[in-house]
């Protein structure tokens, strides 16, 4: 079962799905690098978990739109990554990451926390039960914020974090390449249970982002379940 699934689908309290695989990545970064590092990882995952928009035709066939990509250079890290060309998606991720960063900063803790990207499927239930969301893949990025004393250390950190992120990208690609469980391609009536169809140019699998900050005692003080992205959970 999914060890980190406690944070999945809190409202319905559904049991974790059998097929939820979980991947954990850890990074140590300087405060100003948090956003870029998180965006790099999240965008890389979403690059692999987004398709073009589906256009259903008669007889259950569909055609798929085209996904564009673009290079993003980081300002505080010697690193560049590729993301899907979708301003909406980028905005959504930036909003989530921004809140995570603020929470990290204001928590007054040692700067430890984690941000999670969960892909789920919706399973419609009959009234009065609410729909279930069943996670099938969970990515957790554990972040440790370090404070550096001088410019030289910062320069080294730029390079080191860049190298670390290269490793993370390779790890992500390895997971993607396993071709493990992916939701079946849905029929037109089911498509909103599998994909987020709200964006106008791309279609990621349904996902949600959450985070939590760890205090210096290592316990999670602020468990924040924030639906930072427009959540298609009904109710």
């Amino acid at each position: 079962s999914c060890p980190l699934s406690a944070r999945c689908c809190a409202p319905s309290g559904a049991a974790p799905a059998m097929n939820c695989r979980a991947e954990v990545l850890e990074v140590s970064v300087e405060g100003r690098q948090v956003e870029e590092a998180m965006l790099a990882v999240l965008h890389t995952v979403l690059l692999h978990r987004s398709t073009g928009k589906f256009h259903y035709k008669k007889e259950g066939t569909y055609s798929i739109g085209t996904v564009g990509t673009q290079d993003v250079d980081c300002d505080f890290i010697d690193f560049a990554y590729v993301r899907v060309s979708s301003e909406e998606l980028d905005r959504a991720l930036r909003k989530a990451v921004g809140e995570f960063k603020d929470a990290l900063r204001s928590s007054g803790s040692d700067g430890m926390g984690q941000i999670s990207l969960e892909f789920y499927q919706k399973k419609k239930s009959r009234w009065p039960f609410s729909d279930e969301c069943i996670p099938w893949e969970l990515w957790t990025i554990k972040v440790n914020v370090v404070n550096l004393a001088n410019e030289q250390e910062r320069q080294i950190c730029r390079e080191k974090v860049g190298e670390k992120l290269c490793e993370k990208i390779i790890n992500i690609v390895e997971v993607m390449n396993r071709h493990e469980y992916l939701p079946k391609m849905p029929t037109q009536s089911e498509v909103d249970n599998v994909f987020d169809t709200s964006l106008k140019d791309v279609q990621p699998y349904l996902y949600k982002i959450s985070y939590q900050i760890t205090d210096s005692l290592g316990t999670s003080v602020t468990t924040t379940m924030r639906r930072l992205i427009k959540d298609t959970l009904a109710l």
Binding site: T69, D73, I170
Partner: protein
């Protein structure tokens, strides 16, 4: 066992998918090494021409090269498609950085649905490729290309050759996709020993044998960086245009004067004989008077003015620009390559130092390369590279500077040592006698730090002139003339040339000599407390001074 065989339609589809996958793979890799940020747009309505539902532009030349390499075949067992990414410096050194391999193995997945699952997985694999191409070391290098080096690609089909990547290369797997006819694997083997790149001391690898033809790919994006991956293939005859080399100097010609014997200069080192054009030679980066020049030195048959002709000393090596085929029959005549590449001929320099009016000669860097004569080689090998055919005069042209040093009149050795009488052929003395010596020769591998002895300083301290040995390359060059460009004697009493000559041999700074340097360092440290005490006493004065500044 007769499984459900692939239907012919499926087979056709699969072949098509694999073919276009291979082409798109090449596009992604090459575009990721252009040195520019790539950006394509998403489109919600399918255009029908975007393979694998990804917006990947097709650079026509790249597709052409890929198709040529594939020659109608598809990757199969033992027949892999490889994209080799290499780096070439402005000095002509080159090095393989990565080999991207698209391979097929025998492991078949008969159950998989071609038109659906295989297609989507190929799409996913391309996305992975997009991501991975940004995380290997060559990506950052390629983003910085343009001035000191360019990134080149080469596509080949057949067996994977990884030997050019040096020891300890690493491999990253991009991904695999099983198909009914085999499993497609995409991976990258990359060189890891790039550490020296940052210090700009590239490995002295032999230049690429064979013909190097560079031409620029059409820029897909108008606002792009100046360099593009060049197409490296053998056997063609395009003009080569090289990136601009820093430190290109104007020609200086001057009259001779009587001053201490000359010291530094450069020797052309290895020349590589390539009968087909063009010739790429190694280059030297040598400090001259504290300035560092980086040039592509083509070894040429040069004529020079032997000291016997009464040429005054000359002293320093002055940059003299020429690229000329020399007529061995007229050793004292400097023949300019008037015929090639639009370079104006250099008038012969008289021994008496009449100042030639020659101000500036430029030759496109690729323009004229000649192979040097080594004793063992045929002196008739005067190969001429293609001139840059119309690219001469383009912004990419460079001044190619070759330094010649003249042996001064006060050279403490028999003058005839310098004459050509001893030589069987012109410039045998310039010829690299021992290639190995170069590594020890400070002029070839100049020390970087000022504390170590530069060839300049070394020579300044040498007895009289440079030793005596014929092996000493310091003596082998003769100044032809020195005249600083844009500086005429009749305008000012003290012109640049005079200034240059007068101040050209400064005594070595004592602090630069290692022993003295070390000593003085120790002394400095010892005297620090004392100095600090003095400063402390004067603190009020310092503070007052600071006040006045505010």
């Amino acid at each position: 066992a007769m499984d459900t065989d692939l239907s012919s339609q499926d087979r056709k589809d699969l072949d098509k998918f694999i073919k276009f996958f291979a082409l798109k793979t090449v596009q992604v890799i090459v575009q990721a090494r252009l040195g520019e940020k790539i950006c394509t747009r998403s489109s919600s309505s399918p255009t029908g021409s975007d393979w694998f539902n990804l917006a990947i532009k097709d650079i026509p030349e790249v597709t052409h090269e890929a198709k040529k390499a594939l020659a109608g075949q598809l990757p199969a067992v033992g027949r892999s498609m490889c994209v080799e990414i290499s780096l070439k410096t402005s000095e002509g050194d080159s090095m393989e950085l990565e080999i991207w391999c698209l391979e097929m193995n025998e492991k078949c997945d008969k159950e998989i649905k071609v038109s659906y699952t295989v297609y989507n997985r190929l799409s996913l694999l391309l996305k992975s490729l997009l991501a991975i191409t940004r995380v290997t070391p060559a990506y950052r290098l390629s983003r910085k290309q343009g001035h000191e080096y360019v990134i080149l690609y080469r596509i080949y089909f057949g067996e994977v050759q990884l030997s050019g990547l040096g020891e300890g290369f690493q491999t990253v797997r991009v991904g695999t996709v099983g198909t009914p006819v085999g499993t497609i694997t995409l991976s990258c083997a990359y060189r890891i020993n790039l550490a020296f790149m940052s210090t700009r001391q590239f490995e002295r690898t032999p230049p690429i044998m064979g013909i190097i033809i560079d031409h620029f790919v059409d820029r897909p994006y108008p606002s792009s960086s100046p360099m593009h991956p060049c197409n490296y293939r053998a056997g063609e005859d395009n003009g080569a245009v090289y990136p601009s080399v820093e430190g290109s100097q104007e020609v200086c010609t001057t009259s001779f004067s009587t001053s201490p014997p000359s010291q530094c200069v450069f020797i052309v080192t290895k020349a590589h004989f390539q009968t087909p054009p063009p010739v790429v030679t190694d280059t030297l980066k040598v400090p001259v008077m504290g300035l560092a020049f980086s040039h592509q030195l083509s070894s040429s048959r040069l004529s020079y003015q032997p000291a016997a002709l009464g040429v005054g000393s000359a002293d320093m090596g002055y940059p003299l620009l020429f690229a000329g085929g020399l007529n061995a029959a007229h050793p004292h005549q400097l023949i300019g390559p008037g015929k090639e590449g639009g370079v104006p001929p250099v008038p012969s320099q008289s021994a008496h130092g009449t100042q030639a009016d020659q101000e500036r000669m430029c030759t496109p860097l690729d323009g004229v390369h000649y192979s040097a004569a080594t004793p063992s080689s045929s002196e008739d090998t005067e190969t001429v590279s293609n001139s840059s055919e119309g690219k001469c005069g383009s912004p990419h042209d460079l001044l190619e500077t070759i330094f010649i040093r003249k042996v001064g009149a006060f050279v403490n050795k028999p003058i005839n040592q310098v004459t050509m009488a001893n030589l069987d052929i012109p410039f045998a003395i310039f010829a690299p006698k021992n290639v190995e010596l170069e590594d020890n020769d400070p002029m070839v591998n100049p020390p970087e730090s000022p504390e170590t002895e530069s060839p300049l300083q070394g020579s300044l301290h040498s007895e009289g002139s440079t030793g005596s040995s014929t092996g000493n390359t310091h003596d082998d060059f003769v100044m032809i003339d020195f005249k600083p460009a844009f500086s005429k004697d009749d305008i000012l009493p003290m012109d640049l040339g005079t200034f240059y000559r007068e101040f050209q041999n400064p005594p070595q700074l004592s602090s630069l000599s290692i022993d003295i340097g070390a000593q003085s360092m120790a002394e400095d440290l010892d005297s620090l407390p004392e100095k600090l005490a003095v400063h402390e006493k004067n603190v009020k004065e310092f503070d007052a001074f600071v006040e006045t500044l505010q």
